[in-house]
C-alpha cells in the first residue's frame, strides 16, 4: 500500500487543477468498479453497483498550493494561496507546476518574524526577466509544494497526505469489496477551497448516506494543541468539526461496527477545520454523514505524517461499514 501512497502523494493536483491526480486515480480504481465518470466540477466518481443503500465514500484528491497572480519585470512571481497555506511553512520550499517547471519561495527583507506575511513572499523560477518567466508560466497557473514521499517504517511522510491518504484508503477498500450497497466512491475536487466538489457530487448522487475520509490533527506533539487524537491509536471517528456535527445515529453505528470487528478507534472533536461531509450532510433536504479521520501530524505543511497502522484500521473500518447493513 505504501507504493500506492507514494504515487498518489507525489502526483500534482492543487484545487481546480486536479487533472493529473485524477487520471492516476482513474487508472488505479477502474478495475475495482463498474463505472467511472467525471462531473462538471472535476470530481472523479467511481460507481460499484449494488441493490442496497446508496452510499458516498468520499475523499478529496485536491491539495493545497499557490496560484500565480503577477509576474514582475525581473521575472519573479507573486501568488495567492489555494487553501490554508501559511508563510512560515512556505518560506524556503520548492514548488512545481503542472508542466514540470520548478521554483523556490523567497521573501522580501523581513526583520521581525511577526511581519512575515504571504504578501512578502514570491516564487523564483530562475527566469532572468518577465519575458523568460512568461515563456514558462502564466498568471493563473497553480503550483504545489515539491517534497518526495519518505518511508519512516511504521510512519510515512509526504506532501498532500491531506487527502491522498484517503484516496489510497478508498481504493484499498474497493479492492475485493463484497458489499450489497450501491457505492459511489467520490474522489472530490476543490475541498481545500470550501468543500466545493463534494457539494456538487452529493447533489448529483443524492445518496442515502455519506462517509468522508480525511486527515485530522493530533494532540500528541510537544506543547501542541489540546486534542484527544494521537498517531498510532487507530482510526478516528469524528464527532464534530467546524463544518458539521456528524449524524449521531451514523456515528454511533460506526463506533458499534468498530467495536464488533475489533477495529482500534478513537473519538475525534476537531476545533478548527472542516471536511467534505459538512457539505454532504447539508445537501438537499439533509443526508446523514459521518467521517473516518486519519490522524495526521503537520497538516497543511509539505511534510504531513501518518501512521500505517492507523491507515490499516481506517481501511478495515471503511470495509466493515460497506459490508454491514448500514441500518441505524
Amino acid at each position: 500500500m505504501k507504493d500506492l501512497i507514494k504515487k498518489l502523494t507525489e502526483a500534482f493536483g492543487p484545487s481546480g487543477a486536479e487533472d493529473q491526480v485524477r487520471e492516476l486515480i482513474r487508472r488505479e480504481v477502474e478495475q475495482y468498479v463498474d463505472e467511472v465518470r467525471v462531473d462538471a466540477l472535476g470530481n472523479l466518481i467511481a460507481h460499484k453497483k449494488g441493490p442496497g443503500k446508496k452510499v458516498i465514500l468520499d475523499g478529496h484528491m485536491d491539495e493545497i498550493g499557490l496560484m500565480v497572480t503577477h509576474i514582475d519585470d525581473n521575472g519573479f512571481l507573486r501568488f495567492g494561496t489555494i487553501g490554508g497555506v501559511n508563510p512560515f511553512v512556505s518560506l524556503g520550499q520548492r514548488v512545481y507546476f503542472a508542466n514540470g517547471v520548478f521554483g523556490v519561495i523567497g521573501s522580501e527583507r523581513v526583520d521581525d518574524p511577526k511581519e512575515m506575511k504571504m504578501e512578502k513572499l514570491f516564487i523564483d523560477i530562475g527566469a532572468k526577466d518577465k519575458k523568460a518567466a512568461e515563456a514558462k508560466v502564466r498568471v493563473g497557473d497553480s503550483c504545489a509544494f515539491y517534497q518526495p514521499f519518505v518511508d519512516l517504517g511504521d510512519r510515512v511522510v509526504a506532501k498532500a497526505m491531506d487527502d491522498r491518504i484517503a484516496c489510497a484508503i478508498i481504493i484499498e477498500t474497493l479492492k475485493g469489496l463484497k458489499s450489497e450497497h450501491d457505492i459511489y466512491a467520490v474522489f472530490a475536487s476543490q475541498e481545500e477551497v470550501g468543500l466545493r466538489g463534494a457539494r456538487a457530487a452529493a447533489f448529483g448522487i443524492a445518496p442515502d448516506l455519506g462517509i468522508s475520509l480525511d486527515v485530522t490533527r493530533t494532540g500528541d506533539t510537544p506543547k501542541g494543541i489540546t486534542m484527544d487524537v494521537s498517531l498510532g491509536k487507530g482510526a478516528a471517528i469524528k464527532v464534530k468539526d467546524s463544518s458539521l456535527i456528524c449524524h449521531p445515529g451514523l456515528r454511533n453505528y460506526m463506533v458499534k461496527v468498530a467495536e464488533e470487528k475489533g477495529i482500534r478507534y478513537q473519538l475525534e472533536v476537531l476545533e478548527a477545520g472542516g471536511t467534505d461531509s459538512g457539505a454532504i450532510q447539508m445537501t438537499k433536504a439533509g443526508i446523514p454523514a459521518g467521517v473516518i479521520s486519519i490522524p495526521c501530524r503537520y497538516i497543511h505543511s509539505p511534510s504531513e505524517m501518518v501512521d500505517m497502522g492507523d491507515v490499516e484500521e481506517c481501511v478495515k473500518l471503511a470495509k466493515a461499514l460497506c459490508e454491514s447493513p448500514l441500518t441505524f
Binding site: 486534542m227 458539521l244 472533536v269
Partner: protein
C-alpha cells in the same frame, strides 16, 4: 408545556434530542402531525390550502463539548456559540446522565498581573468533575459529550424571567402556540430547527424539504438596554414589544413583509420595535436562500445577555411577538402576499 420546562432541557447544537422529544410529545397531544429529518429538525404541518408558510424556531442552545480528558481527570472543552469571557467559574452538567462539574481556571493568586486584566482563553480553562484520574473521569464522560449550563429558571419580578436557552426556546414556545390555532387558508409548516448556533444548518435542509412560499424566523434576540450602553447601541429594549428585523448578516427581510408586520402591529395595538442592529444572523438567512429562494422576515423577543449561561426576558414581549405572528398568518389567509 411551559417555558420553565422547555428551557430546562439540554439541547446544545447537534444534541437536541431532549428538546425534540418534549416538542414531539407536545405535538402528539395537540394532534398535530410532524416528521423529523436527518439533521434532527421537527417539521410540523397544520392547515388547509393556500400559500406554504414556514415558521421557524430553533431548538438548539449554546454550550460546550468535551474534547480531551487530562491525565489528572480534568476535562478540556470547546465552546459552541459561547464567548470565552463568560465561562470561568460557571457550573455545568455533562452528558445524558447530567454529571455535574465546574469550570475552573488558575486562581487569581497565581495569575500574573497582566493575566488578571485579560479574558482567560479557553485553552486555560477546564471542567472539574471531581475525578482523580483520566480513568475515573472516563467512566462518567466521553470525548464528544456535551455540557450545558446549570441555570435555574426564575421569575426575577412579575413577568421578567431568567433562564438558560431562552435563545431560542422562546421561539419554540411561540411556534407551539401558533400550531394550536386552526389555519384554513394557509399550509403552515412549523419547523423546530436543529443546529442554528453552528451555522443555521437545520433550517437550511428543512427549508429545502418544505419549499415554502415565504418564511418567518422566531428568535430570542440581542438586547443591550443596560447601564454603560448608549441608547443607539441598545438594539432592542426589554418590554419594548415584538422585535421586527430590518437586516442582519444572514438576510435582508422582504420589505413587503416588514411593512405588513408594522401595519398589523399598529392596527392591532401590538407593541413593537425594530431591531436597531444589523449584526448576528438567524435561520431566516438559510430559509431565504433554500432552493430558488423565498421572502422572509424575523419576529423576535428581546433577551438580555444571550449566548451566556442565562438570559432575561419580558413576558409582555413574548405575548406581543405571538400576537404579531398570528396576526401576520391571518393576513396571509386573508390574501396578503409579499
Amino acid at each position: 408545556m411551559e417555558l420553565r420546562q422547555l428551557t430546562a432541557l439540554a439541547g446544545v447544537s447537534g444534541n437536541e434530542k431532549e428538546v425534540r422529544d418534549a416538542i414531539t410529545k407536545e405535538l402528539d397531544s395537540m394532534g398535530v402531525p410532524y416528521e423529523t429529518d436527518v439533521l434532527g429538525n421537527v417539521i410540523a404541518k397544520k392547515g388547509g390550502s393556500g400559500p406554504k408558510v414556514l415558521v421557524d424556531a430553533h431548538m438548539d442552545e449554546v454550550g460546550l463539548m468535551i474534547v480531551f480528558i487530562e491525565k489528572n481527570g480534568f476535562l478540556r472543552f470547546a465552546p459552541i456559540g459561547v464567548p470565552p469571557a463568560v465561562l470561568v467559574s460557571k457550573r455545568v452538567y455533562i452528558g445524558k446522565d447530567r454529571v455535574p462539574g465546574v469550570i475552573g481556571a488558575k486562581a487569581i493568586h497565581l495569575q500574573q498581573p497582566k493575566e488578571r486584566e485579560s479574558v482567560i482563553p479557553v485553552d486555560q480553562l477546564f471542567i472539574d468533575i471531581g475525578a482523580k484520574s483520566a480513568e475515573e473521569a472516563g467512566k462518567k464522560v466521553k470525548v464528544g459529550d456535551y455540557a450545558v449550563f446549570d441555570t435555574e429558571f426564575e421569575e426575577l419580578s412579575p413577568g421578567v424571567y431568567k433562564a438558560k436557552a431562552l435563545d431560542d426556546r422562546v421561539g419554540c414556545m411561540i411556534l407551539l402556540e401558533a400550531l394550536k390555532e386552526d389555519w384554513a387558508g394557509i399550509e403552515l409548516y412549523g419547523v423546530f430547527a436543529a443546529q442554528e448556533e453552528v451555522g443555521t444548518r437545520g433550517a437550511r435542509v428543512a427549508a429545502y424539504r418544505v419549499a415554502p412560499d415565504m418564511g418567518i424566523a422566531l428568535e430570542g434576540t440581542v438586547c443591550a438596554d443596560i447601564p454603560l450602553a448608549e441608547k443607539e447601541a441598545y438594539a432592542t429594549r426589554l418590554g419594548g414589544g415584538a422585535v421586527i428585523s430590518v437586516m442582519d448578516r444572514g438576510s435582508i427581510p422582504s420589505r413587503a413583509m416588514v411593512d405588513q408586520l408594522v401595519k398589523l402591529a399598529k392596527e392591532n395595538n401590538i407593541k413593537f420595535q425594530f431591531r436597531e442592529a444589523t449584526s448576528g444572523g438567524n435561520d431566516a438567512g438559510a430559509i431565504q436562500a433554500a432552493r430558488a429562494g423565498c421572502p422572509v422576515a424575523s419576529i423576535s423577543v428581546p433577551c438580555r445577555y444571550i449566548h451566556t449561561p442565562f438570559a432575561v426576558m419580558h413576558k409582555g414581549d413574548f405575548d406581543a411577538a405571538k400576537a404579531l405572528l398570528i396576526a401576520f398568518l391571518r393576513s396571509v389567509e386573508g390574501g396578503f402576499r409579499p
